[in-house]
């Protein structure tokens, strides 16, 4: 009959753990357009750094480098501009799931 005792004890402990939630819950940051853009910016920055690195390593010829750099910088600039606008004008910033 010890097994019954262990079973009851284990069940009670489990139920206590599951349903007894003291304190406040952690819900994390809400995802916004600006947050998403920052992720995008990080990705584009990463690509730019990679490109710079590969150029310095001698893998990319000058012409290709300049062309790709400027297209990546355009992309980054557009994202940065939008982030700046959203931060200056919070009313236009809507939640993603709205």
């Amino acid at each position: 009959m010890t097994w019954l005792f262990v079973a009851v004890l284990f069940t009670v402990a489990t139920l206590f753990y599951v349903f007894y939630i003291p304190g406040r819950l952690f819900l994390g940051p809400e995802k916004t357009r600006a947050g998403y853009l920052r992720e995008r910016k990080d990705a584009v920055y990463e690509n730019l750094r990679d490109l710079n690195f590969e150029y310095q390593a001698g893998k990319v010829p000058e012409v290709d480098y300049q062309q790709m750099k400027s297209s990546l910088q355009d992309e980054a600039a557009a994202i940065l501009a939008e982030i700046a606008r959203l931060e200056n004008n919070p009313s236009s910033q809507k939640g993603f799931r709205s």
Partner: protein, 711 residues
């Protein structure tokens, strides 16, 4: 004990059901609520303490979600307890439990009693559930990375948990009690499984199979929530890499086990069960590559979604194949009804995924454009095509006997010759891409850039190929390779020279990168390369994995040069194979509590010089009444000498010895170690470049509440 085991399994099922339902209800409430209220806060928001019905509803749905998460965590505890009970029962020789009776016996050594947990149908399903709830446990503990996405992933995982735990409770109960008289001793563990690697091979393989549920759960969550951006890919990346590492390790442990235990001299037989493990590995590998497209360029969103799903689905399909008996295989489990369960589960997951995919597919449209066919992007596309094609070929070959039976009324065998013919050319194309891909630039690559990056590696590879062709054959295995003699020699030469090409391109990546670092920091070349790896662990860890892969490929290419001989050997009899001469010194018999054994002692000479002796063994296990052979293997970089005690001539008692000379096998095992080291390195977090630190710090300050990257 058995009762407690059964109870904990039932409790685990109840907790999973609760976790699933409560999580689902909470999330659907939150979704409705979000649909009516725009949210604007960026800071971590804690439950607001305001009043009002809406807020009450919000609070209770969040509390409900939290109980769901905790129930999921607790389900791990319950399954863990059940597993511990089963193992304890195995150690106590509790043969009243049918599973223990069928898979253990009193004289079984300790570690194998532990392995009883995964050596049969019911136990291995329990073990599978343990790993699944274990992965889910870790995921649920790390929910702070992105609570909402993790809540969805947790619900998806709870759904999968319900399936496996229902299976355990209602179809394959590991704690079922023996009917009738209690037997005195169990019927023992299959002797083939009584080998040290067998204790770790299944856990590794299962960790790999089960682990792909996690990326799938995240993908499903991202699809359902229309998750903005590629962050979820970033979060799943490490999970996928860890899982991939386990699966790789599991597959090769299996191959090594087959090589050192089954005694047929090979390591891969294209058996359906082996194929089943290869398929998710192939799609998983494709996924590991294509995620880069999504992370860096926001492309291939739909494709990645499907790839994650396919990987998960194929892992389950593999289990289905192994356990349903639908396709005949040497190491399938006993035929049973659980095949139907798996079939329905496969259909169900497909339907659920398809439903959400069709519903939310518009969200997956990518924005970026591509400049040229000669670019890293398209090399990834071809890479993915070839991986998926390989996977398809394996799947096709595995199912073809069934298809043939349906169409022309008779089964056919689809064995090694089929795969060699179809898969090797595809694998060679893939090898070319392994060399070319990393050197192509993103967006577009000019001819000038191609020339700059490929000239020297290509010249190197051609030199090696010529060298292999003109060297004398007497140097052994791959030397003096004449590709026009046989197609397999041609494939080997291609594989080896392409491998050299990959090695040279990888080396040039390290060298060039190291030089840049060295220019900035003034460190030596080697220190710079170490630093380079540390700064971008994924890329350079990945290169090391590529290096490991080609070392494995070189090992596989050696198979074209294998030889074998078989001979009955009395005292003083000789046999020669390649440069080796074998001399039978003695043969005898032995007995231990678990088995009888017969073995021969063979002196080995290489080019006339004595280099040692070898003892191939054959065992007869008492409990299971089965025999197994334990080959003796003498490994060198060039070749393995592999001796098998095949049997005994009944008339004169002389042992029959089979000798295999297997070229380059050691390279395979070395390559796997390199692959695993590379995977480990890729998991290490990146070190920041010192020069950029102030800039990064400034940026961090400028951004409110950066998201925790706890992947």
């Amino acid at each position: 004990m058995a009762e407690l085991g059964s109870f904990t399994l039932l409790l685990a099922l109840a907790l999973s059901v609760y976790s699933f339902l409560a999580g689902l209800i909470a999330l659907s409430f939150q979704k409705q609520k979000l649909a009516t209220q725009p949210t604007s806060s960026k800071a971590p928001n804690l439950v607001p303490q305001s009043s009002g019905f809406g807020s009450l509803l919000r609070q209770s749905s969040e509390r409900l979600s939290e109980t769901a998460r905790r129930a999921g965590i607790a389900s791990f505890g319950a399954v863990l307890l059940a597993s511990i009970i089963l193992v304890v029962c195995a150690f106590q020789d509790n043969f009243s439990i049918a599973y223990i009776f069928h898979h253990s016996n009193r004289d079984l050594p300790g570690p194998y009693k532990f392995a009883v947990l995964w050596s049969g149908q019911e136990g291995s399903l329990l073990f599978w559930s343990l790993l699944l709830t274990g992965y889910a446990f870790v995921l649920r503990l790390r929910y702070k990375t992105d609570p909402r996405l993790f809540a969805y992933a947790s619900v998806a995982l709870a759904g999968v948990q319900i399936f496996f735990l229902s299976l355990l409770n209602f179809a394959a109960h590991p704690f079922a009690i023996m009917q009738g008289n209690l037997p005195a001793d169990g019927s023992g563990l299959n002797p083939l499984l009584q080998y040290p690697e067998m204790v770790i091979h299944p856990p590794m393989l299962y960790l790999g199979y089960v682990g792909f549920t996690v990326p799938f759960a995240f993908a499903l969550g991202a699809l359902i929530t229309k998750y903005p951006g590629e962050k979820w890919i970033h979060i799943t990346r490490r999970w996928t890499m860890v899982t991939w590492g386990f699966l790789t390790c599991g597959i090769f442990l299996g191959a090594h086990w087959a090589y050192s235990v089954l005694g047929w001299g090979g390591y891969w037989g294209w058996d359906p069960v082996e194929n089943a493990s290869l398929m998710p590995w192939l799609t998983g590998t494709a996924f590991l590559h294509s995620v880069m497209m999504q992370e860096k360029r926001g492309m291939l969103k739909v494709w990645n979604m499907w790839l994650v799903f396919a990987t998960f689905w194929l892992a389950i399909l593999g289990t289905f194949l192994t356990r349903s008996g639908i396709i005949s295989s040497v190491h399938a489990f006993a035929q049973s009804s659980i095949g139907d369960w798996f079939a329905w589960f496969l259909v169900l997951t497909l339907v659920v995924f398809l439903f959400f995919f069709v519903k939310n597919r518009k969200h997956l449209v990518s924005e970026h454009k591509l400049e040229s066919l000669a670019s890293r992007e398209s090399s990834f596309l071809f890479n993915n095509l070839l991986f998926v094609l390989l996977c398809f070929t394996v799947l096709w070959g595995t199912w073809f006997p069934k298809i043939s039976e349906l169409v022309q009324g008779n089964k056919v065998t689809v064995g090694a010759p089929f795969y060699n013919r179809v898969a090797i050319p595809v694998a060679l194309l893939l090898l070319i891409l392994t060399a070319v891909g990393p050197l192509l630039a993103w967006r577009k690559t000019s001819l000038e850039s191609l020339k700059r990056n490929f000239l020297w590696p290509t010249i190197g590879a051609v030199i090696v190929a010529i060298f292999l062709m003109i060297t004398p054959e007497s140097w052994g295995s791959v030397f003096g390779l004449k590709p026009w003699h046989d197609i397999s020699y041609f494939y080997s030469l291609m594989a080896i020279s392409l491998s050299v090409l990959v090695i040279l391109t990888v080396a040039s990546e390290f060298y060039r990168g190291g030089k840049v670092i060295s220019k900035h920091t003034g460190q030596g070349t080697f220190a710079s390369m170490v630093q380079l790896t540390h700064r971008n662990t994924r890329r350079y860890g990945g290169y090391i994995v590529h290096f490991g892969v080609v070392v494995v490929i070189i090992g596989l290419a050696g198979a074209a040069f294998n030889q074998d001989q078989e001979k009955e050997m009395g005292y003083g009899d000789r046999m020669s194979i390649g440069p080796y001469t074998l001399l039978c010194r003695s043969y005898t018999e032995d007995e231990s509590p678990n088995y009888f054994s017969q073995w021969a002692m063979i002196d080995v000479f290489k080019n006339g010089k004595a280099i040692g002796s070898m003892t191939p063994v054959r065992r007869f296990y008492k409990a299971s009444q089965q025999t197994s052979t334990i080959p003796d293997i003498r490994s060198t970089l060039n070749e393995d000498l592999y001796l098998v005690f095949e049997g005994v001539n009944q008339d004169n008692g002389h042992p029959i010895i089979k000798a295999h000379l297997n070229a380059l096998v050691m390279w395979i095992w070395m390559g796997v170690w390199i692959m695993l080291i590379g995977t480990g390195l890729a998991l290490v977090p990146n070190a920041q470049a010192p020069a950029r630190a102030p800039v990064t710090a400034r940026l961090e300050r400028a951004q409110p509440a950066p998201v925790v990257t706890g992947d």
